[in-house]
Symmetry: C2
Subunit: 488 residues, 2 copies
Amino acid sequence: MKSDRPLARAPRGFIDRRARDLGAERTIVERIVPVYERYGFEALETGALEYADALGKFLPDADRPNEGVFALQDDDGEWMALRYDLTAPLARFAAANWDGLPKPFRRYAVGTVWRNEKPGPGRFREFVQCDADTVGSARPESDAEVIALMAEGLEAIGLPRGQAVVKINSRRLMNGLLATAGVTDAGQTLGVLRAVDKLDRLGLEGVKLLLGEGRKDESGAFTKGAGLQAAAIDRVLAFVSAGSEGRSETLDRLANVIGGSAEGDAGLEELGRIHQALTALGVGADRAVFDPAIVRGLEYYTGAVFEAELLLETLDEKGQPVRFGSLGGGGRYDDLVARFTGEQVPATGCSFGVSRLAAALRAAGRDPAAEQRGPVVVIAFDQARMADYFAIAGELRAAGIAAEVYLGGSGMKAQMKYADRRLSPAAVIVGEDELAAGTVTIKDLDLGRELASKVADNAAWRAERPGQQSLPRAELIPAIRRILDARA
Amino acid sequence: MKSDRPLARAPRGFIDRRARDLGAERTIVERIVPVYERYGFEALETGALEYADALGKFLPDADRPNEGVFALQDDDGEWMALRYDLTAPLARFAAANWDGLPKPFRRYAVGTVWRNEKPGPGRFREFVQCDADTVGSARPESDAEVIALMAEGLEAIGLPRGQAVVKINSRRLMNGLLATAGVTDAGQTLGVLRAVDKLDRLGLEGVKLLLGEGRKDESGAFTKGAGLQAAAIDRVLAFVSAGSEGRSETLDRLANVIGGSAEGDAGLEELGRIHQALTALGVGADRAVFDPAIVRGLEYYTGAVFEAELLLETLDEKGQPVRFGSLGGGGRYDDLVARFTGEQVPATGCSFGVSRLAAALRAAGRDPAAEQRGPVVVIAFDQARMADYFAIAGELRAAGIAAEVYLGGSGMKAQMKYADRRLSPAAVIVGEDELAAGTVTIKDLDLGRELASKVADNAAWRAERPGQQSLPRAELIPAIRRILDARA
């Protein structure tokens, strides 16, 4: 007989997150939002659902064409969808309110987004993004400001300088390269972009093959190349190799490759102004560099493109070193508002994935939530004395200390185990003896856990009751404070 | 010709919220979450979508039967829906993870919920709730704790004691009343509940009519009554009138009406223990009272029911006094986890609507976001000097002061207007003169706004340039700080 009870499970690709993970993400948001505000960005929150036509189909990752949205029909027949990023709703908001907004309009947003993708390990269909965008400024300086904000945000969340960098490229540079290399065919353009995107993995030799006839990998599989001539290939290779420690040097090298083409010169001028503004903001090449090999997002953005990367070498589950990859990105998109109004409104911005930042901090050994603590647990020793236990919990809370009375139905041993599982710093025990003597017994559970991890013979030290002390009732709060401070 | 451009509009019932509203709500969450944590509740966040069968149909408001959810089908054919509250997902989570959880399991959650209702003025289909629940404790003391938490939460967000109260009733009391009044028919039961729910609006006389044959309102419309006999009506009226300033007195009066019935006695015992725990927690009758006339939610909950109310008299748009109504509520629900597992797991909890709390604070004249400030705006006076302006903005930010360089394309006048609309405290102007002399000019916009609201002759005071000062570059930060501190 089949049960008609529903199964207790979350939909595929959706997860439940408990205090530890949430603590890390909350800390990240609490640290990054003040940076956004210091840069003059104001908060905006739009709804989770948008009309499907207003969202459009602008998912930034061109390599995942089957990406979709979660769509549903309203009772009046209109199609709505859960937002897949925070940029499309911003464009809709800006178009709807343009006349009444202070211009340029700077807004930041922290919000959940949803992607109707195939879920997999570590690949979720719901996550929180943390964006900052300036709408209404065509100045490259507004790109520079977003880049500076990203660099400062990464430091603010706890990644030390040198462990992360913002890489900058421009669609105009790439257009200049394609023009000077004589690439006009759309298929060939895509081939060039794909080849450049593999620089990290295949190196210059591999990219060279992919720009030409093609490349056979270790498994013997052959990837057809873009079919460029030797001179064009050299130009592309010189372009992607132009990245250097210094931003001015990179610009100089790039000028040698693509200078003279209209789009190339425009891109160089754009990056030149970004460089100057970054320098004025005190953001050196240790925090933001030009990297002409950055391709991701170039199809989506209309000008400069930014990508924040963790420089730290990280290990996968098998202990193998892996590239951590992108922490977030952004760029200039001058066409998004025009979708609604027909009038072009320049815009630029960035987006961080909050759980991605949390993973980066963990990889860097700087998990802000590593020190999760539970409440002090007042043991329900004597059912007739619950009022006393509530008074003790109330007193602790009034002193700003998280506390609770055990409210289950189990005995002492299970209660102590409960307190331990909650990562309680201490348990408070008040029985008849304590009530008669006006005392309380406090068990230092932090110490208990510390000893348990060190001592081989558990039974022996348990018998000694380490960290257990009886003291006058009036000394409860200071004693708990000492326990909390000892591991603060 | 029809444009193929999408309309820039949010779906019906969804709103965009800007800094001011968000600031108030963020402050409320920042103030209430520490209260939840001090009570030992741990954070949990579940996904926005749940399988539709897991959510079930448990919307608490029985008077709106057409309330629905936003549902959609996953690509494997399963129906999912956006959560309509945070309790149903908690029940699903608890059922799925019961064996591994510390028990009782206390969790709090701050999250968006969605209701597919007909939108209207002030009636949205998306809002944020802020819940705390204890799963796995049948003790009335766990109800008391939730009530104390609600009372403390209301104070923490900024409602002074006396302006709000938590009203407590119990389904068991009402069952006891129905038993002693001899009401067994389901239709008559509903009639009694509906009549009692109108006590606030119609008074005892009106309720009496609705309990009997029926009542004709001012417009002449007749509402059929529950058809109770005179003795039963008297009992119901004595029951709903039993509420008093003191909790013990209310219990004594209720005992006179419903004492002796099994359910009534169980309810009295339950409320008696809640009263004792509240007293031990220092929560007096000025913050939590028994009110047998509370009916909302009785059909949904299985035991005690709580409702937080604003006591302040508020005015509607026409200046008429109105009841502000509920700020939040909760109660005991012992059946929700059993839906999944078949095993009953007792649970109790509460929920606040965050925008509802924000509205209450506004009504009480205690809007936490009343003092919204914009960034200092560095005027883009001379295009060739942008690097200097960026350096100034960077310096202000490094000092913890929100600042931005104007990045639009407009002239001085529009830039000052922009700064004013951003509610900037000050504008910083650096032209050739200032650069040559090593000075900056600061315009105190706070002062400007203050004077503008007082002075009739705008042109005259503008000519005098009040609040404008030139000072050495090194004195910039202290001068801005003085302006900020003057209105802090």
